[in-house]
């Protein structure tokens, strides 16, 4: 894991927040913290932990990050859990529940979870709560849109979640009937990471040339995993409607995470929908293609995140930070991130998406002003500095003295 310097954010984050971080962290000196999730690479959770954990360490807080391990069978089960908790109908057999518990038990036996506070991320490692010792504080961090979960799966998971000292959700609508306190913490992006740092025009051009993306026509971009909840086929439909009026190209840039076995299937569906249109570029990128994604976002005329379900759109915040106008699905966290008509547009159909793309392409001054608003809004609400402060304050309030 890289080392990061909290002071580096002084001229990027809102004034005062860096000093505030030092003062709050001072209260947590001597305490030990552990984060646990299910994958070291791929997906938003791992990406955030790669940045958050070193910053906690730089602030003098003893923080570790551990990952549970499982066979492909385990990831198939947890993917079904994930989909069920996001409202998709899934059949989960007794054998699948047993495998889930067995692998958690096995992981728990070899993991050191002795700490003043343990934060468990997402459903995959939730049963590790059996390792909780007296005097420690355990929080369950839910990153997904669990507002309408498949009841049976939620009831199963709830047995474990209820044993935690608190749960953290990304949006008020994700709150559940739980006997434990439920906190709200928005996720964030890191302005200094490879995915978000400033790039030169040469670096941006080099990426466009690498993929033969034309520079002489506006680019519509969606960056996301090849996942049905991200509606990549809907994005292609919207692009085809726009193409009747505006010459443009579409880039669908994504990849798949280690814990997502459905990615390849969806990628094939997307390729079929693209019908060999020479202005559609489908980029199946590796998890470390951060500079490529950064360059694509900076080169885009309009960025889309036409999700049908979304816990919180990290790619929305990334594009907003680059002062791009964003069109997002009117779902989940995107409704909080985008102030309609001011920091972006939210839409509920391919037709609505197409109309707003056309509007932005044909009103470049409006698009420019919207992008600037988006950047400032992101600085104050969705940067990692605010995220660190939120976690520090929760740790201060919850950890046992």
């Amino acid at each position: 894991m890289s080392t990061l310097d909290w002071e580096s954010y002084r001229n990027i984050a809102p004034a005062g927040i860096v000093d505030l971080g030092h003062r709050v962290a001072d209260r947590l000196k001597g305490k030990k913290f552990v984060h646990v999730n299910s994958t070291r690479w791929g997906g938003g959770v791992a990406e955030m932990l790669h940045r958050l954990v070193p910053l906690f360490q730089d602030l003098g807080i003893d923080t570790r990050w551990d990952v549970i391990e499982g066979a492909p069978e385990f990831y198939q089960v947890t993917k079904s859990f994930h989909n069920a908790l996001q409202g998709q109908n899934q059949i989960i057999t007794k054998e699948m529940y047993d495998a889930y518990l067995r692998i958690n038990k096995k992981n728990g036996l070899k993991m050191n979870l002795d700490a003043d506070m343990v934060i468990i991320h997402d459903p995959q490692p939730a049963p590790l709560i059996y390792k909780k010792k007296k005097g420690s504080t355990w929080l369950w961090r839910c990153h997904i849109d669990a507002s309408r979960p498949q009841r049976k799966v939620w009831n199963f998971l709830k047995e474990y979640v209820s044993k935690y000292d608190g749960a953290i959700f990304s949006l008020p609508s994700f709150a559940q009937k739980l006997s434990i306190p439920q906190y709200l913490v928005y996720p964030s992006i890191d302005p200094l990471s490879d995915k978000n740092k400033e790039l030169t025009q040469e670096e941006i051009n080099s990426v466009l040339e690498q993929f033969n993306i034309p520079k002489d026509k506006p680019m519509i971009l969606q960056v996301s995993r090849f996942d049905r909840f991200k509606d990549p086929v809907g994005v292609i439909e919207a692009y085809k409607m726009v193409k009747q009026y505006n010459d443009c190209c579409l880039v669908l840039a994504g990849g798949s995470a280690a814990d997502d076995p459905e990615g390849l299937e969806v990628l094939n569906e997307v390729k079929n929908a693209a019908e060999k249109d020479k202005d559609i570029f489908i980029l199946d990128l590796p998890p470390d293609a951060n500079i490529i994604i950064n360059a694509l976002q900076r080169a885009a005329a309009v960025v889309l995140q036409k999700s049908l379900k979304e816990g919180f759109g990290l790619t929305v915040a990334e594009a907003m930070w680059k002062a791009r106008p964003v069109i997002g699905g009117f779902v989940g966290g995107i409704t909080v991130q985008i102030v309609y008509g001011q920091t972006g547009f939210t839409v509920s159909s391919a037709e609505g998406c197409a109309y707003r793309i056309r509007y932005l392409l044909n009103n470049p001054e409006f698009a420019l002003a919207m992008g600037q608003n988006a950047k400032e809004y992101t600085r104050r609400n969705f940067l990692i500095t605010r995220h660190v402060i939120d976690y520090l304050s929760l740790m201060t309030a919850c950890v046992k003295k």
Partner: protein, 219 residues
């Protein structure tokens, strides 16, 4: 002499799991909500530092206007400035009275059709003392100019209502320690609900500068 200690604050937001889909349900929520919830939805708006402001500094009014699309009730709620209120219960009573009156005057209860429900939340504040302290008006003014905006929120809104002091920490100190009653009263007369925290900072700084120029007051 007792110095003034500037103290930043961080808000911990809690979800209650309770929500309303129409105005009658909102009324019930407000009747049953904890004081922390009433305070959160009528005050912590300022602390969220929204660069883009919604129409009103009240979550209740914004939800009614933007999600339920009942502009009449939304505007009535927006006019309920909590300025001068001594207790959160007074704020709650006003909200209940206005919504109840409105519901009595209409036949159909306005509800969310396409928008999102109102999600009841609450918050608690963690205070983080800064290194900024003041022993006279000039030091007070200079520290106020550079303190984090959360300190202004803490000393004005938190102190008045949740801290149950009825006045801002600023005016209490200026009057009781420095004996500047007129300046203290002028600060109390600022309609804090009409400005963001930065606007409030500017107003208070302006009053301090006037006092320093007029009275050469460094006491």
């Amino acid at each position: 002499m007792k110095e003034f200690q500037f103290t930043d604050c961080i808000e911990i937001k809690e979800l209650t799991g309770k929500k309303a889909n129409d105005e009658a349900e909102l009324l019930e929520l407000i009747e049953e909500a904890s004081p922390d919830s009433i305070y959160f939805h009528t005050h912590s708006y300022f602390l969220r530092h929204f660069y883009i402001m919604g129409p009103y500094p009240s979550d209740f009014a914004n939800w009614i206007v933007m999600q339920v699309r009942d502009r009449v009730l939304g505007e009535k709620l927006s006019a309920l400035t909590p300025s001068g209120k001594q207790k959160i219960e007074d704020v709650r009573s006003d909200l209940i009275e206005v919504i109840d009156d409105h519901l009595s005057s209409i036949k159909t209860i306005p509800a969310v059709s396409f928008g999102q429900p109102f999600y009841l939340m609450k918050s608690k504040i963690i205070e983080i003392p800064t290194r900024l302290k003041a022993q006279n008006l000039k030091e007070f003014r200079d520290s106020l100019a550079c303190v984090d905006a959360s300190a202004i929120y803490n000393h004005v809104f938190e102190a008045r209502l949740r801290g149950q002091k009825g006045r801002s920490d600023f005016s209490i100190w200026l009057e009781e320690v420095l004996g500047l009653s007129q300046l203290a009263q002028s600060i109390e007369r600022i309609d804090a609900y009409m400005y963001g925290l930065e606007g409030l900072r500017k107003k208070i700084l302006c009053l301090c500068d006037q006092e320093l120029q007029e009275g050469g007051q460094y006491s």
